[in-house]
């Protein structure tokens, strides 16, 4: 009686094991596919300059978010800079990038943003876990934020099941790589109920034709009300948690400065330009004097930094701005030249 029963049990157990093995196999396949095709590919595009750079003689490392992404151009720098930035990254992620980077090369200067939103709690986040598990210490991130379980869950998800609930990421990937659409601009415009962006060239040409003047003489009309709305929306977004001086962010800011001090690196803290509308809206949301006092309080413990304040240099117009808190190519060149001059003047690269 026992023999057939045991064979049956063995078969069942073997079936369960085989089922689970295939399940894990498919899981692993999806993890690899997801990392190769979606999350990593999106982030790798941002990293491309870092990955392609010759890291042996790197003197300047640029870290930060979209402000640094649009604000720094490599050409004015005489020394070898690497821009390793991605939109949305805060001090916490900057710190882990720096820590990882220092294992590969030793820069003399680190350029870091010191913007109005730099300490906002909104920036204390990790979005693409499958990418960040390589760099970030999730246990530490959780401990600093007092959310150990949350970040432990994120680590497990990023490491073993990054594709779970990945519909939106796959959409982003399909949107950008298959349909060649830029989501952010499009969505932002739709949310604000603005008219879709027209191709500048054609609009200018039509206006030139209508007014019988040269195309170069036609100026693109601005939308002041739309800019104000955009400024308000963006500022509200950055400070939606109302925690403009988030303690965990301060902790990581200090960690960056300490790490740089240990490695004899000078930190250039750059306040990237914003529009007047944006600044005004932020000043309504954040007590700026108090905020500046708090930042100075943190910086008092360090001496390896310089602050370069470009916050209000483009208040007069939008010629150098792409939008309310990002500069365009022209603005980027101007800022980069100023930073390069500063480095040269103070001989920081020597």
């Amino acid at each position: 009686m026992n023999k057939p029963l045991s064979i049956s049990n063995f078969r069942k157990t073997a079936k369960v094991v085989l089922f689970l093995l295939i399940l894990f196999g498919i899981n692993q396949l999806l993890v690899t596919l997801y990392s190769q095709m979606t999350a990593s590919s999106i982030l790798a595009r941002r990293d491309v300059r870092f990955r392609n750079a010759d890291k042996t003689g790197v003197d300047i490392l640029v870290l930060g978010d979209s402000h640094a992404y649009s604000g720094i151009t490599a050409s004015p720098f005489k020394t070898n800079p690497i821009k390793w930035v991605a939109p949305g990254e805060g001090y916490m992620l900057n710190y882990y990038k720096l820590e990882y980077g220092l294992k590969q090369f030793k820069p003399k200067i680190v350029i870091l943003p010191l913007d109005l939103h730099s300490f906002s709690s909104v920036r204390y986040r990790i979005r693409d876990d499958s990418y960040w598990v390589k760099y970030a210490d999730y246990l530490e991130v959780g401990a600093v934020a007092g959310k150990r379980l949350y970040y432990a869950k994120k680590y497990v998800k990023g490491r073993f099941f990054p594709y779970v609930g990945a519909g939106p990421t796959i959409n982003d990937w399909a949107m950008k790589d298959i349909f060649k659409l830029q989501k952010d601009g499009m969505m932002m415009r739709r949310e604000l109920n603005l008219k879709p962006k027209k191709k500048k060239g054609r609009a200018k040409k039509n206006r030139a034709k209508k007014n019988q003047v040269k195309k170069s003489q036609v100026k693109t009309p601005r939308q002041p009300r739309a800019e104000r709305t955009l400024a308000q929306t963006k500022a509200n977004m950055q400070f939606r948690n109302k925690d403009y001086f988030h303690k965990p962010m301060v902790t990581y800011f200090k960690k960056i400065l300490s790490l740089c001090r240990e490695n004899d690196i000078t930190v250039l803290l750059v306040k990237y330009p914003v529009s007047r509308d944006y600044y005004q809206r932020v000043s309504e949301l954040v007590p700026l004097q108090r905020f500046n006092r708090q930042v100075r309080g943190v910086l008092n413990d360090y001496d390896n930094y310089f602050i370069l304040d470009f916050q209000n240099i483009f208040f007069s117009g939008m010629e150098n701005m792409r939008d309310v808190d990002h500069v365009n190519k022209k603005g980027s060149r101007r800022i980069s030249r100023k930073i390069a001059k500063f480095i040269e003047k103070h001989k920081l690269d020597q």
Partner: protein, 514 residues
């Protein structure tokens, strides 16, 4: 702790493991502790209400068992009903009652002295209250002997898979199962896991994704037009079904893994050919509860009170049906939520049912005269479509924030349809990669269209499975006896489809609020 939380994915296997490891005589204790822990993970304080409900019904049922006179038994029945319905009223209906009184007294120029109760609605209170009431009524009627073992009775009331959203189990069916010695059975366990996967597929992939669309449109009806309302209402019909039946599948599956047989709560309701058939397929545990403990007693009482065979040329039986159905559906609507929208939803169903009952003969004659019965497929399809439309229309009241929103949606349901078709035509004529991309990733409905198509495909798969189910009692019967490669392929597709495109924001189940 919701079924779709990581917490539950650790909790459940641990309970199952312990359940089979410990001796049978201690299993009730494990289930009781696990169930109370499960319930306390929402709001620890509300476990007191569950305990009061359990203790009162246990003690009064024991008292009823030892009572010699019918009056005494009745007293215990009313005491149990008073305690449990009192708790339900205080926590669920008091503020609704106060608001209604405010309105009434305000119209008379008086002020209402009643205060606002600032309390959270205890999860699943309506479910366990009805379960307790069914037990006490069964004991009163003599269908069930009072349970002597308090621990086992408490485990029956609080059994965690069905505690917060049913099925509302009858003591005659479910309580004896706690005395059965459940041995681990591979087939039962596999069947339970199949149901759990199916439940998650419905909940995470279909219901939670559709929720984005429904919420977007129903929160701001002023921003949308008729076609959106029609689409959102159809989406809600599937959302509420997949959400609730998904929960039930997980509950039944979880019970089955431990050897328990919970009752079937849904039997492909959208395939019903009449509204009355719909109610034999939708939330069966509640509809049978309402039938046995409300409708039939009320209908019989009305019929008994009317001593004439007909009133206003309408049979007394019909009056009994109309009265019983109106009161039952009114209370059934109110059971779902303390709001007039739910009452309207219940009453609208009462109207459907009464109309269906009273026009049965006329409709039969029309059908016979039209000759449509000669084409049974067409006839059945039309009946199903008609019933689905009526049920979906009633969902507008169920989902709308208030009566005025429901009125707005109904009055605008056919607005802007011409414009929509023109726009669709223009879109198709001018289709390019860019316009297709812009359309697919358009998020105006709260979910990109590309994801909506994925969910619609999932609904098609679900309905195909329901069609294939035919007369089988459970959907897992469709796949259970297929070749191993067919079964496994189906499991992997369901699992990974849910994992990749499911919504993992730990959205609660709709019926938790009831």
């Amino acid at each position: 702790m919701s079924f779709n939380s990581l917490h539950f994915l650790i909790f459940f296997p641990a309970v199952v493991f312990l359940y089979y490891v410990i001796p049978h005589k201690y299993r009730w204790a494990l289930l009781l502790v696990a169930s109370y822990y499960f319930y306390m993970s929402w709001e620890p304080a509300y476990v007191i209400l569950l305990a009061i409900s359990t203790l009162s019904s246990y003690l009064f049922a024991r008292g009823m068992g030892s009572a010699r006179f019918a009056n005494r038994k009745k007293l215990f029945l009313w005491l149990t009903a008073g305690v449990n319905l009192g708790i339900l009223f205080a926590f669920k209906y008091f503020n609704f009652f106060k608001d209604t009184m405010d309105g009434l007294m305000g119209s008379l120029g008086l002020s209402n002295p009643l205060p606002v109760l600032k309390v959270l609605l205890p999860v699943g209170i309506s479910f366990y209250t009805f379960q307790v009431l069914s037990y006490i009524i069964d004991v009163y009627r003599g269908d069930k002997k009072p349970e002597k073992h308090l621990g086992i009775y408490a485990a029956y009331v609080s059994f965690f898979p069905q505690l917060v959203a049913g099925p509302i189990e009858r003591s005659t069916h479910f309580l004896p199962q706690f005395f059965e010695k459940h041995r681990f059975r591979f087939d039962l366990c596999a069947d339970g896991l199949r149901l759990i996967v199916w439940g998650f597929f419905k909940k995470l992939l279909i219901a939670d994704n559709l929720a984005y669309v429904v919420d977007t449109i129903y929160k701001n009806p002023g921003k949308f037009e008729g076609i959106h309302f029609i689409f959102a209402t159809l989406c809600f019909a599937f959302q509420v079904y997949c959400d609730f039946s998904g929960y039930t599948d997980i509950a039944v599956g979880a019970g089955r893994v431990m050897g328990f047989r919970l009752m079937t709560n849904f039997d492909r309701p959208y395939f019903a050919k009449t509204v009355s058939e719909f109610w034999t397929r939708w939330h069966i545990s509640l509809s049978t509860w309402l039938r046995d403990y409300l409708f039939l007693p009320i209908a019989y009482a009305l019929m008994r009170k009317t001593k004439r065979p007909a009133v206003l040329k309408i049979k007394t039986e019909t009056w009994g049906y109309i009265g019983g159905m109106s009161i039952t559906m009114f209370l059934g609507g109110l059971w779902h939520g303390a709001g007039w929208t739910f009452v309207c939803w219940g009453l609208l169903h009462a109207v459907y049912l009464i109309f269906g009952h009273t026009t049965k003969k006329i409709r039969r004659r029309i059908v016979k005269a039209s000759g449509i019965k000669k084409m049974p497929a067409v006839y059945n399809f039309l009946r199903t479509a008609c019933t689905f439309s009526l049920v979906s229309f009633a969902w507008i009241f169920f989902r709308a924030r208030d009566i005025s929103d429901a009125g707005y949606i109904i009055s605008h349901i056919f607005s802007g349809l011409t414009g929509f078709f023109q726009g669709a035509g223009d879109f198709l004529f001018n289709l390019t990669t860019e316009t297709l991309g812009l359309f697919l990733f358009n998020n105006e409905l709260g979910l990109p269209y590309v994801n909506i198509f994925i969910v619609l495909l999932a609904i098609a798969v679900m309905e195909a499975a329901h069609l294939a189910q035919k007369n089988r009692p459970c959907v897992t019967g469709v796949i259970k006896h297929k070749a191993v490669w067919v079964r496994w392929t189906a499991y992997y597709i369901l699992i990974f489809w849910t994992l990749v495109f499911g919504s993992f924001n730990e959205q609660t189940f709709i019926y938790f609020q009831f």
